[in-house]
């Protein structure tokens, strides 16, 4: 069963039949987390780096921003029994348009936001496929944590 995570959305699951998927990331970031002992998986699709853009909006939808979405993702997985020290973390997306520099490079800023945040909380990123000009889709099987990243036009690979 596919559980689709929309844009600015997050889902966690301990249903071993479930596969979490989020499509077409562009400059957005998809964060997949998995605890193999608890067999709990989570997937977040955030669009923007900082909730200071619109704190009101962040309250209503924390999954839009990195700094509110990432804590919400981990907390939701903890509730299902996952533990931080066992968590496998996979990050995909954050693409950029050619010659998109500085503050306009939202993809790069989205990537910087998650690196900073996870580093500060002593969480290691196990695999990351970010940047470049390609569009990605990420999929996580709750059963065993298998993860696939699809790049538009170039097919899907299991990681």
């Amino acid at each position: 069963m596919s559980l689709i995570v929309g844009v600015s959305d997050m889902k966690v699951s301990d249903d071993t039949e479930a596969t979490l998927v989020t499509y077409s990331l562009g400059s957005c970031i998809g964060v997949a987390i998995y605890d193999a002992v608890a067999r709990v998986g989570g997937l977040l699709h955030y669009m923007l780096p900082e909730s200071s853009l619109d704190p009101e909006k962040a309250k209503k939808n924390p999954f839009m921003f990195a700094d509110t979405g990432i804590p919400a993702l981990f907390k939701a997985a903890y509730k299902l029994g996952a533990k931080k020290q066992r968590m496998k973390v996979i990050v995909a997306g954050g693409a950029e348009i050619l010659d998109q520099k500085g503050v306009f490079n939202i993809g790069k800023r989205n990537d910087a936001a998650i690196r900073k945040m996870l580093h500060r909380n002593n969480v290691i990123i196990d695999y990351n496929d970010v940047g470049g000009v390609v569009n990605r889709t990420i999929k996580l099987a709750v059963n065993n944590g298998d993860t696939w990243i699809k790049v538009s036009g170039k097919g899907e690979k299991k990681i």
Binding site: G26, S27, L53, M64, G93, I97, K101, F104, I106, N135
Partner: protein, 277 residues
């Protein structure tokens, strides 16, 4: 290189934009036109009328009273919105099919086009543009060339992709180099073939801003920026990915900041989740 003439012949295979959409667009451009002019054009096309009423009564607009005539729809939604709805419903058939060359499933190019059009409208309103309907429609139809070029992109994808990944070509530049024509140029030809205004033809042809535009620079820039924002959001993006050029000078000329970009993105998601998915 493919035979350009046979590619251009592909235009004839598209479902032509019905007359009612062209008429509605010309009414929208005429400041002297009235609600009843608009209503008169629409009521004679039963399919368009049925579709308009269906959309007007949908939850998206949250109208209290049931709308059961074209006139009421115009009163409740306003002329601009009704014009948009007519144009959207008429262009959907061409844009809804799968485009394998661009790795787009059925509906993807359509989502991308509607998103671009809605964002272009928002930017146009923000910048107090005079030609809001022109900008909306051009943004909606700007990738119509992809529907024809699709087959050729599919056949030459590896060559196009090599230029993009190894030689810093944009996808459009690579299409032009490998196939001999690109989707924007071809889109401009479709618009000409459908007797669209010279401005519309130019915006569609120029929506990646390969060169400075002569007659519709402001409008082309708005459509270009809407397209850029859509690519960043990833909605309906295919094998061409984000491989187009970012022109920061164009963004700055319109006094748009990165914060403005982010605001547009954050506001858009809500209407997206509510209406299009």
């Amino acid at each position: 290189m493919s035979d350009i003439k046979s590619i251009i012949k592909g235009i004839d295979k598209l479902k032509p934009i019905p007359q009612v959409a062209s008429k509605v667009m010309s009414i929208a451009r005429d400041p002297e036109s009235s609600m009843s002019d608009l209503s008169k054009v629409i009521v004679f096309d039963t399919a368009v009328t049925a579709n308009l009423l269906k959309v007007a009564n949908s939850a998206y607009f949250g109208l209290h009273d049931k709308v059961d005539s074209v006139h009421q729809a115009i009163v409740h939604l306003g002329m601009d919105q009704v014009v948009d709805l007519v144009v959207i419903s008429d262009s959907s058939e061409n844009l809804k099919s799968a485009q394998e060359g661009y790795d787009l499933n059925a509906g993807d190019l359509w989502k991308y086009s509607v998103s671009s059009a809605l964002i272009a409208r928002e930017l146009a309103e923000k910048k107090e543009a005079n030609e809001i309907n022109l900008i909306f429609t051009a943004a909606l139809l700007k990738d119509i060339g992809k529907v024809i070029l699709n087959q050729y992109v599919k056949d030459s994808f590896d060559k196009i992709n090599a230029l993009v990944t190894e030689q810093n070509f944009t996808f459009r530049e690579a299409e032009k180099k490998v196939i001999g024509i690109d989707h924007a140029e071809l889109g401009g030809m479709v618009a000409e073939n459908w007797d669209f205004s010279p401005q519309m033809v130019e915006i569609i042809r120029n929506h990646h801003l390969p060169q400075k535009s002569s007659i519709s620079e402001f409008e082309s820039s708005i459509v270009y920026i809407a397209d850029t924002i859509c690519m960043m959001m990833g909605i309906g993006v295919g094998s061409d990915g984000l491989a187009y050029r970012f022109h920061q000078e164009v963004v700055e000329r319109l006094s748009l900041s990165d914060r403005d970009f982010q605001k547009v993105i954050s506001v858009f998601v809500k209407s997206w989740n509510r209406s299009i998915r």
